[in-house]
């Protein structure tokens, strides 16, 4: 199976004055195409930092990250953005929709950034798949939390990403909505054969993935 993501000895240290704080300490792991894995651990264990590094949102202090065979360490911010646009999808705990755009427009953005035209059809189809076929022209403030997260899911899958990073995707949702989003997330993931990297506190959710990486104090304690 092809390796989609490979982290090798990742370390991230923040410096504040003379103090140094290591939030990730020599973390290594791999993710193959079409598989799913969860990163779990208590607050401050380095989960989100690891996710950010893997997605090229930040750069490590040392160690290497390879995403779709691109070594992220050597790439500029713009090049990393290009790779994210081509291969990566995101789902966040706080949905992170653009407040000035409608649901449909939010979903269209990643393809439009590629310069593609006539993307509304695909966006509408995806919104239909997540059950929001009647909410195209609603702004985020006009949608419930569960609906916003479903828009975020549609946006994440519109580029048919090779890998999807999800940071506490059900963290802000009630039980019913959380279940609906979880089903959609794993369903779409299976259909699109996407690699899923999930960061969560929720052990029940984590157990739905094929593999769990447990972190504590910046170290992987059980992979």
């Amino acid at each position: 199976m092809d390796i989609v993501l490979e982290c090798d000895q990742l370390t991230k240290t923040y410096t504040s004055g003379e103090k140094k704080l290591t939030v990730l300490d020599h973390v290594s792991f791999k993710a193959e195409q079409g598989t799913s894995l969860s990163i779990i651990g208590p607050s401050g264990s380095g989960k989100t930092t690891l996710l950010g590094l893997c997605a090229g949102l930040d750069v490590p202090t040392s160690g290497t990250i390879s995403l779709m065979n691109f070594k992220l360490n050597n790439l500029s911010e713009d090049d990393r953005a290009y790779i994210r646009n081509q291969y990566v999808g995101f789902v966040f705990q706080n949905f992170q929709l653009l407040s000035t755009l409608t649901a449909l427009e939010n979903v269209m953005v990643p393809l439009e950034l590629r310069g593609e035209k006539n993307v509304a059809v695909k966006a509408k189809e995806l919104l239909g798949r997540v059950g929001l076929g009647d909410r195209y022209h609603h702004y985020p403030t006009q949608l419930s939390g569960g609906e916003q997260q479903r828009v975020a899911l549609a946006r994440a899958f519109i580029t048919s990403p090779k890998i999807l990073f999800a940071d506490e995707p059900t963290g802000n949702l009630d039980e019913a909505n959380a279940q609906q989003v979880t089903d959609l997330l794993f369903g779409l993931n299976r259909e699109e054969k996407t690699t899923l990297v999930l960061v969560t506190h929720n052990l029940e959710l984590a157990q739905k993935t094929e593999r769990i990486i447990k972190m504590k104090g910046g170290l992987v304690v059980n992979a």
Partner: protein, 834 residues
């Protein structure tokens, strides 16, 4: 707490207040200039007149009056001035000047500054002339050269750098040449029809003696047809002029201040809204509403005072620069003193403004419910607040009070406040309309970058409308000025038109008429118009004498009743097509018929004099009364092929009255113009020539000068608008940072984000410019139609340039303040959010 919290937000808070700095700077600079001018006026009033009393007359001053004045034993000097041609002998070039013939020890006060210093004494000694320095520079005249004025050649004695009562704009319009009064007759310029102004300058020993002289001459004033002017009258006149100009400029500066106020209110509103969560926590731990309010109020007040001090300092610096930059428009030599009064007023005004305009948005802090800590979307029911009502009333009253203080007039202040409120209301309406149109006709087919940039204008907590109004107001002022300038210039801009006259010859004596026409023929110049002119005054209207009309309440302006009219006679409308008959007819003269003389009157003048077809009026023509009736009303396009006339008589009535002739022609190039002027001055020295191309360029120059001053002040509004914009950009920084980071996360590159930012502010600049332009077209049209009464004329290229400039400036300010937003790494914001 206020201090600790303020430290964290200092740079942001300071930006709120910085929009005040430009407003206060404008107010202080203008107030300082006004105080300096008034002080200077009080100190040097006599120098403005050059004497204690001046007697003016358009007729030669009678020996009887001289005798009366001589009997009072006052020192006396005199001058006579008139329009004349001068030929510069070294180049044979000629032009129209104001000829001033002086006699005696003028000026008694102040200094006639010449170069060389003995030029004035030399001029008085014989056939020597001095000329204004600007004229000498323009025609490259040196002390070795000579000038031909009328029949006489004068050697150049030197140049005049400064003369009491002269210089400034007067010199721009009509540069002067000075000769001795004893030499005036030798020029042969004073003939029938020549318009000469005679003045007597009197130096008294005391104010009491001045009053005595006035008592002696006043009874003779009407009979002999002269007027007089005292130092006090000149000071009052000039003081009134300075006051009016100052009022206008103060109000422009005040506009900048009001814009600053809007900026403060808008920014503090956003700031207070963002502080909602913190306030809720404070309320949870036991803070009262007023305690929470005080924390933020103290921050704004302290920074308001700091901002005002900085604005006052900046204003004081600008005040030092104004006399250097605009010295040619200021009639007095200013001292570089700091006006502490203006500074104190500025600081007080800034303090009040910062308190007043932050009160309302900050009061909202008092009503933040503690429950917001648990539920962010919880809104308390609105409660009536006396303090909120008081603040609202104060905010409404403040602009009226402040404008009244600035203009030192309740009426001006009130009218200005209403006008400003209307202008801001219209701008807000246009801005809202534009945004509504954008929403309605959103360009769904445009590329993502363009659509997203446009959507950003509607982001939550946006200040788009405030920005459209603030930047739009600056654009409005500049565009309106441009429209007025173009419309006024359009009135004199006839030289480009084919076949229209661009040269007017006047003061042609009847005996010279054929010779002048022959000269034009020899030089292949067309005689477009050759018309006689007779001077006269009104002595009666509709069977009433002028004196009777002056006493009753007909509301006919004094000037229209007492002015000198220059009329002509012909049996048809002007052949140039500059007039058409709108009512009545052009009637010929039939001797012997009752009421046989029917004249035509120009449209507008008939309204001023309240005359209709068939009404009678009586003219005093060189001492002879002539009763006529109105036979027709002509619509006259005054700028087209002058001269045009208010009254036209039929032929056969005035042929024997004393008259002069005017001829018009078109000269297409400078060489031909120079050759003709030269021949004219040599053969007919008393005939004057107006080169309308020169008039046009002079008027244009004048507009440029006045426009420069107004633009300088309008700049305060633009700068304030841009500072408000910078504040708004910083206010929305976190929201925009979040958006950009999100876009970066899903693949946007720096070029995408830069384009979105530039296009967003490009839209903002464009809409602001459109808002300002829309209002300026409306306002400009109203001003042209009802105030200046000229044809509305727009130079679209210049308006587009102004719009482009506003747009580019807005884009630059927006982009400059967004650099950090564009370059922020994604994870930082996502973490903060998560």
């Amino acid at each position: 707490m206020a201090w600790r919290d303020g430290l964290h937000n200092f740079s942001r808070l300071f930006l709120f207040i910085s929009s005040l700095i430009t407003g206060i700077a404008g107010v202080v600079a203008i107030a300082s200039l006004n105080y300096s001018l008034q002080d200077e006026l009080d100190r040097n009033a006599k120098e403005l007149l050059g004497a204690d009393l001046v007697v003016n007359s358009s007729k030669k001053i009678s020996s009887e009056l001289i005798k009366v004045i001589d009997s009072t034993k006052v020192a006396l000097a005199r001058d006579a001035d008139m329009a004349s041609m001068v030929m510069f002998m070294h180049t044979k070039e000629s032009r129209l000047i104001k000829l001033t013939a002086l006699q005696g020890d003028f000026p008694f006060y102040g200094e006639l500054e010449t170069f060389p210093t003995d030029a004035y004494a030399k001029m008085k000694s014989g056939r020597f002339a001095m000329l204004d320095e600007s004229l000498a520079t323009q025609y490259n005249v040196s002390s070795e050269d000579s000038l031909k004025i009328g029949n006489t050649v004068f050697k150049v004695a030197g140049v005049v750098r400064k003369i009491p009562g002269g210089g400034g704009l007067t010199a721009t319009l009509a540069p002067a040449v000075y000769i001795s009064l004893t030499e005036l007759d030798s020029t042969g310029l004073v003939q029938y029809g020549s318009r000469v102004n005679y003045s007597l300058y009197l130096k008294t020993t005391s104010d009491k003696q001045t009053a005595e002289v006035i008592d002696r001459i006043k009874p003779l004033s009407k009979k002999m047809g002269f007027g007089f002017e005292t130092v006090q009258a000149r000071r009052d006149g000039l003081g009134q002029g300075i006051k009016s100009v100052n009022q206008f400029f103060s109000l422009l500066a005040f506009v900048a201040l009001i814009l600053g106020c809007i900026g403060v209110a808008s920014s503090v509103h956003i700031y207070a809204r963002e502080k909602r969560d913190e306030v809720a926590v404070l309320r949870c731990v036991g803070s009262s509403g007023w305690q929470a309010f005080n924390i933020y109020f103290i921050q704004i007040f302290v920074l308001g005072v700091v901002g005002s001090l900085m604005g006052a300092g900046l204003g004081a610096i600008i005040h030092q620069v104004i006399p250097i930059a605009f010295k040619e428009y200021i009639p007095l030599k200013l001292q570089f003193a700091i006006s502490w009064r203006a500074i104190a007023e500025g600081v007080a005004l800034g303090g009040i403004v910062s308190i007043l305009f932050s009160l309302l948005p900050l009061m909202a802090v008092r009503f933040v419910p503690p429950l917001t800590v648990l539920r962010a979307d919880f809104n308390a029911t609105k409660v009536f607040s006396k303090s909120r009502l008081a603040a609202t009333i104060l905010i409404i009253v403040f602009p009226i009070l402040a404008a009244a203080y600035q203009t030192k007039s309740w009426i001006s202040g009130g009218l200005f406040s209403v006008g400003l409120a209307l202008a801001l209301g219209c701008l807000a309406l246009v801005a809202a309309g534009l945004l509504w149109l954008v929403r309605k006709y959103f360009p769904l087919g445009a590329t993502f970058v363009f659509r997203h940039a446009l959507s950003n204008l509607f982001r939550p907590n946006n200040q788009t409308r405030v920005l459209l109004v603030t930047i739009g107001l600056g654009a409005f002022i500049i565009a309106t000025l441009n429209i007025i300038q173009n419309s006024l210039l359009g009135q004199v801009e006839f030289t480009g038109s084919q076949n229209q006259s661009n040269t007017i010859l006047f003061d042609i004596q009847p005996s010279q008429k054929d010779g002048v026409l022959q000269l034009m023929k020899e030089q292949n110049l067309p005689a477009n118009q050759v018309v006689p002119i007779i001077t006269c005054r009104l002595s009666g209207l509709k069977n009433k004498t002028i004196e009777e009309i002056q006493k009753d309440t007909t509301n006919i302006p004094e000037w229209a009743l007492t002015r000198e009219y220059r009329i002509t006679y012909r049996d048809s409308l002007s052949k140039s097509g500059s007039e058409k008959l709108v009512k009545g007819e052009v009637q010929k003269f039939y001797p012997g018929r009752k009421d046989s003389v029917y004249v035509t009157i120009s449209e507008g003048m008939h309204e001023t004099l309240k005359l209709q077809i068939g009404d009678s009026l009586t003219f005093n023509i060189q001492g002879v009364d002539m009763r006529v009736r109105v036979g027709g009303i002509r619509k006259v396009e005054w700028p087209k092929d002058p001269p045009n006339f208010l009254f036209v008589f039929p032929s056969g009535v005035l042929e024997n009255a004393p008259q002069i002739w005017v001829a018009t022609t078109r000269i297409n190039d400078n060489v031909a113009a120079s050759k003709f002027q030269q021949a004219l001055v040599v053969n007919y020295p008393n005939v004057s020539l107006i080169d309308l191309r020169l008039v046009l360029s002079t008027v244009d120059e004048l507009f440029k000068k006045v426009g420069l001053v107004i633009r300088f002040l309008a700049l305060f509004s633009i700068v304030t608008g841009l500072v408000v914009l910078a504040g708004a950009v910083i206010n929305s920084k976190f929201a925009r940072m979040k958006e950009n980071v999100l876009l970066r996360t899903i693949g946007a590159r720096t070029s995408h984000l830069t384009k979105i930012t530039l296009i967003e502010y490009g839209y903002l600049g464009l809409f602001s410019a459109l808002t300002g332009m829309a209002l300026s077209l409306g306002g400009g049209w109203l001003l042209c139609k009802f105030f200046f009464q000229v044809s509305f004329s727009v130079d679209w290229i210049e308006l587009l340039t102004i719009s482009g400039g506003v747009m580019l400036l807005t884009m630059f300010i927006g982009w400059f303040n967004s650099r950090e937003v564009i370059s922020t790494p994604p994870l930082q914001v996502l973490r903060r959010e998560g």
